[in-house]
Amino acid sequence: MAKKRKILKGVSQARKKDSQEALKALAEGIIDQIRKADFPSVTMPSRTTDNIYFDKKLKQYVLGGKVVRRTARNVTHLKPLTQLVWAGYIASTLLKENKTSTLRDVFYMAEGEGLAFEDQPESDRIITELESVIKHPREDFNIFPEERSAMFGNLEVEYTVPGYEGRRLNFTMNPDGIVIGPAVATSEFVDTDADKVIVIEKGAMFTRFVEEKAWKRYNALLIYTAGQAPRATRAIIRRLNVELKLPVYLFADADPWGLHICQVIISGSANAAHIPELVTPSAKWAGVYASDIVKYDLPSTKLNEQDIKRLQEIGKDPRYQSEPWKTEINKFFEIKKKAEQEAFSRYGLSFIVDKYLKSRLEELEG
């Protein structure tokens, strides 16, 4: 086992406290304006496409300087602004009572308040607005998506959720992995002997890695994203990277979709450009590369029309203008083939962990 790391204490709690302050500041701003008989207004960065930029230094999407103002003076803004203030109240209550909720809950709760949303996307939009106003992701004010991704490895955390305060969990306790839900996402890191994080797109491959003891052999925490990583998962990857200084390696299928799963973890999505704290810029794409298909002679299928179209799109995307992306995208165009992570099984079940992973990690760690 590697040496013990210094653990930052109370990070999760600090973030929540910070969110709560921001929520209160929002409400106080509204109250002040009402008392002065000014129409309350809230300013937030514009999230329209013309205000989303790719920051080359940060290697992620960020919002530009344009702001929008929601003002109660405008009759069309009144309802959304009220919904925003209400969402702030809900968030602050969740934090105060240490409860969690989901976007779906929010949608239904609004109906009970005479603030019904037209549809789920509209209610999601208000939560997104609240994120950009208080500059915290919704996970910081306890609104979580449906959980589906999981983690396995020697990491010990301490719960902060009500009823579990102080209780600890080790991620080796369940060989199926432990779901990254609100309780995990809000837990404090206590201890780990891992020195890296390996993120895997698919459940079958995650199970293989556990069974082949990849976590032990490579001293790694394994995270399974189940396709595009949920925001809580991206947040925890970032925390592992920032708080525990663990390097992150990303494995997905050798196709444009797999590439993008990795890319979103590294540099974020345009949708979440208003939240800086979901990205892990130092994470490394570890495969499966197009060149691996050739190198390992992997069973592959032809790229279909959609794949080609998507490849062309990401070929122009600023996030893909560095290596190894550029070379690999060209390689895809050259061979016009794609392969799944499972393709390595033609060399036996342990090949991917014994040989491929070993050589790739050596390559990347330099």
């Binding site: 106080e28 509204i30 109250i31 129409f39 300013t43 103002r69 109660a72 803004h77």
Partner: protein, 543 residues
């Protein structure tokens, strides 16, 4: 000298003028009672349903006239009771109508009620477009179907007389069955008529109620009470104490003269030369005009009108109609409702949200003066889908709507879309009143007005005028509603916003949004309803 009591109230007068008995001789040979019984379709007694409706209508109009000619605010009472079922389609009904009008001196009662076409006015009344029958056709019809006498109680204010009458149809003479003075009733003035008739009440009933309702609309100064066969009381209450001006009597205008009229005027005239004949017997003909006319047509002013040959009379009638030197007829013989009364009537019966009325200036067609009055009622209790109420000389016209000139104007000539009205769905009622010394009815049924260009134009102009005012009202209301809806949004959300903000910071007293609501009510919608894009632009400047 013949005189015409013009137009409204253009109902039959019950009191014959002086000197009438001599005229009755003239009509002796016509056997009018018999004639009209044989031609009862013409008078609106074609079937058991129409008979009941027409009876009520004639009697109510007589009663209204008896009040209006003396400027008395009418109190009309109608009661119909069913005596027995005669067949599936008709019953024997007892109809009673009473009023608080002038009453009839007892010596005139038998003739007034029991002799059809009694009086010289008959001829001229036909000219004016009303029957000389009054209620007499109804009494006649009642007697023929039930063989029961007519009961009349009347008083001019002193003694109260009761009569029991029948009509001798062949001889057209009243037969007084019984006559007595009712000493027990004191200080009562008016007339009550009661008689039996066979008819179909159940089919007639909706028309009767509609007739009374529409009558109440153009006689808002009347109380009308009706007790139907089932014993139900239907009342139309007086809404104003104002009554329209009574029309002045006037001579016929030369432009409206035909050969038959002319012959009768000559016959009754005592004037012995043309100059005098013209000035004494025609409306708007003075000495100078008469001279001019006689000159133009090379007629000797000294000629005796009684000595005109038949061909000369034909020529004279044509000349009178075509001469352009006559001034148009004066409308003092007309009695329009006036804008105030029309509006009061519409408000009372239709209970709309908005009313606009227009009383046009007098106009004339073929020597007959007329006045068009139009009203529109919108919203409130007005039914959807544009209903039309037609009146001629204050009489509601209930049949053959789509043949009427007003229907043509409303449904074909008016472009309602220009006034933001969708005729098919709008809660709109249009009221058209035409009053004239001669309503140009299209047929003998007298239920619809012909599309004379002069009348059509007047209706059209009046309609456009009220529609313009309606359109203005609608657009004002629309912007008011828009403002209201906008303000509702502030009212709904500002308190909530304050409440949630206060709860977030744990504030116990929610800050008051009242000053903001006051501010919001003053904001004009133009200022506030800037688009989102505009806001975004402002935002980028602010950053």
């Amino acid at each position: 000298m013949l005189s015409v009591r013009c137009a409204s109230p253009g109902r039959s007068s019950r009191i014959p003028p002086e000197g009438v008995p001599s005229l009755a001789e003239t009509f002796k040979e016509i056997s009018p009672a018999d004639f009209f019984y044989r031609n009862r379709d013409v008078a609106g007694f074609s079937n058991p349903t129409r008979a009941v409706y027409s009876t009520v209508r004639e009697l109510v109009e007589n009663s209204l006239d008896a009040c209006e000619t003396r400027g008395i605010l009418p109190d009309i009472f109608i009661r119909i009771t069913s005596l027995q079922g005669a067949s599936d389609v008709s019953q024997v009904l007892k109809i009673l109508v009473s009023d608080n009008g002038s009453g009839i001196p007892p010596q005139y009662v038998p003739q007034a009620f029991g002799q059809v076409l009694f009086g010289s006015k008959y001829v001229l009344k036909q000219m004016r477009g009303t029957f000389g029958l009054g209620g007499k056709m109804a009494y006649l019809y009642g007697q023929i179907t039930t063989n029961a006498p007519l009961r009349i109680v009347t008083s001019t204010g002193s003694k109260v007389h009761e009569f029991s009458l029948m009509i001798d149809i062949q001889r057209n003479r009243p037969k007084v069955v019984q006559q007595k003075e009712l000493k027990k009733i004191k200080k009562w003035r008016g007339t009550m008529v009661e008689f039996s008739i066979e008819g179909d009440y159940y089919r007639a009933s909706p028309k009767i109620v509609e007739y009374l309702r529409q009558t109440a609309m153009v006689a808002p100064y009347a109380n009308i009470s009706f007790i139907d066969v089932e014993g139900r009381l239907i009342r139309f209450m007086r809404a104003t104490n104002l009554m329209p001006k009574s029309p002045k009597e006037t001579l016929p205008h030369p432009h409206g003269i035909d050969v038959e009229n002319l012959q009768r005027i000559i016959e009754f005239s005592k004037d012995r030369n043309m100059q005098q004949f013209l000035t004494k017997n025609f409306h708007r003909v003075g000495k100078a005009t008469a001279k001019l006319f006689l000159n133009e047509f090379k007629i000797d002013p000294r000629k005796d009108p009684k000595k005109l040959s038949h061909d000369e009379i034909v020529e004279l009638a044509r000349a009178l109609r075509s001469f352009e030197g006559f001034l148009p007829p004066d409308a003092s013989c007309l009695s329009p409702l006036g804008e105030n009364l029309l509006e009061a009537g519409i408000r009372k019966e239709l209970q709309p949200e908005f009313v606009a009325v227009e009383s046009r200036k007098p106009s004339a067609y073929s020597g007959h003066p007329f006045i068009v009055e139009v009203g529109v009622a919108y919203g409130g209790k007005v039914q959807q889908g544009g209903s039309l109420y037609r009146f001629a000389n204050r009489i509601p016209l209930l049949y053959d709507e789509s043949s009427d000139v007003s229907w043509k104007v409303v449904n074909q000539l008016m472009n309602w879309k220009r006034y933001n009205v969708d005729l098919a769905t709008a809660p709109l009622a249009v009221v058209v009143h035409v009053c004239s010394t001669k309503i140009p009815y299209k047929t003998v049924g007298k239920e619809y007005v012909a599309d004379r260009p002069e009348i059509e134009r007047e209706i059209m102009n009046a309609m456009r005028d009220v529609a313009r005012r309606l359109s203005l009202f609608l657009s004002k209301r629309l912007s008011y509603e828009r403002e209201k809806r906008r303000f509702d949004v502030f009212e709904r959300y500002l308190p909530k916003m304050a409440k949630y903000a206060a709860s977030t910071v744990g504030l116990k007293s929610v800050p008051s949004v009242k000053p903001l609501l006051v501010k919001a009510s003053k904001l004009s919608s133009e200022v506030v309803e800037g688009g989102k894009e505009k806001e975004d632009l402002e935002g980028s400047v602010a950053s």
